[in-house]
Symmetry: C2
Subunit: 211 residues, 2 copies
């Protein structure tokens, strides 16, 4: 039997929170050593013959306590291979993203932290988050699986603006983002309008993915 490198799958579980109007990252304190008690990305060791997506779902359900049905989409990011990233020994880390549908969340979930302000995490997880942030920003409005997973089947212009600002750091002009979305195949502006924000303002359009 060849002694091979261990493979872990670490997940950036993302959720849009309409209340704080920000994209949040799901993290949880580690149950075991090393770094017991410290916050970390949900991660599991990849089982023999297990698919990356399955392992990512397992990490989200087991480590964050989120039901499988709340995971709306997932996908691959990059691989981290520094041999010293895990004190137990060399472990490959394959990073995946997963989007969480807040409507399917039960009580007592994980810690949700704004993507823009992640606290210190165990292992090299801060580095993973930093390296993957631009990749995630690049997926928005380009990878429909990712975008639809994050925003849900229906969403408003206001939410689209908030998500974009959360991921890219810049708030686009509503007019320009609207035109970007109108050009997107698979997305359409409905005739309906949502309620205006608490501060007032014009009620935003509702957008819907056409399957």
């Amino acid at each position: 039997m060849i002694e091979s490198t261990l493979v872990s799958v670490d997940v950036l579980a993302l959720r849009f929170d309409p209340t704080t109007r920000a994209v949040l990252l799901g993290i949880a304190p580690r149950a075991h050593e090393p770094f017991a008690g410290e916050l970390a990305l949900p991660g599991v060791l990849l089982g023999k013959g297990e698919r990356l997506r399955d392992a990512a779902h397992r990490a989200v359900t087991d480590k964050l306590g989120i039901p499988e049905t709340a995971i709306s989409a997932s996908g691959q990011l990059t691989t981290f291979d520094e041999p010293s990233r895990d004190p137990r020994g060399p472990t490959l880390s394959i990073a995946l993203w997963a989007t969480i549908d807040p409507t399917h969340l039960t009580g007592g979930g994980p810690t949700w932290t704004p993507l823009a302000d992640v606290p210190p995490l165990a292992f090299d997880h801060n580095r993973i988050v930093d390296d993957c942030r631009p990749i995630l920003a690049g997926h928005l409005w380009r990878d429909t699986t990712f975008t639809a997973g994050l925003l849900g089947r229906e969403f408003t212009t206001a939410q689209a603006l908030d998500v974009t600002e959360s991921l890219t750091g810049e708030r686009p002009y509503p007019a320009n983002l609207g035109r970007t979305m109108e050009r997107l195949p698979g997305l359409e502006r409905t005739a309906h309008h949502a309620a205006a924000l608490p501060q007032g303002g014009r009620p935003p359009s509702v957008w819907r993915w056409v399957t």
Copy 2:
């Protein structure tokens, strides 16, 4: 001891051949079962604690018989996780690209096949090549490490045209590619001109990377 998935690193070793004016992919017949004798991408099992880049270099040197010094650059592509892709059992495949400098090649190298016309390969290696082709095309003129690795420290406009055609399938207008290259930071048009092609024609400019 946890029984974990094996990890292999499979390499798309690329080289530009000025003679045939095409980008070539390095492949070699397999020495062992399964698929003994059949052509395949160079690949090795990732050793414990080994870095992906080191494993990729090992694959190129061991399986293709190319000296380490001929590898001009390398980088990560994607991961393939179908459990049945290796008949010996579930094995993850992390794909990397490596660029080969033809001037450092010794005799008796591997089989070089045009990237546009790859013969049937062992495992799911044809699928890997197909999936990675657009990623490689996307790296050209965007990832300077990749581009410089493929074209070398100095190259002509004619070669740049050939490489672009090989990777994207479309031959750009010389004028437009020239302007694209002029805008590239780190690349400059020298005052020199190379010899004209055998068929005649105007001698192309020589371009050089400024470190």
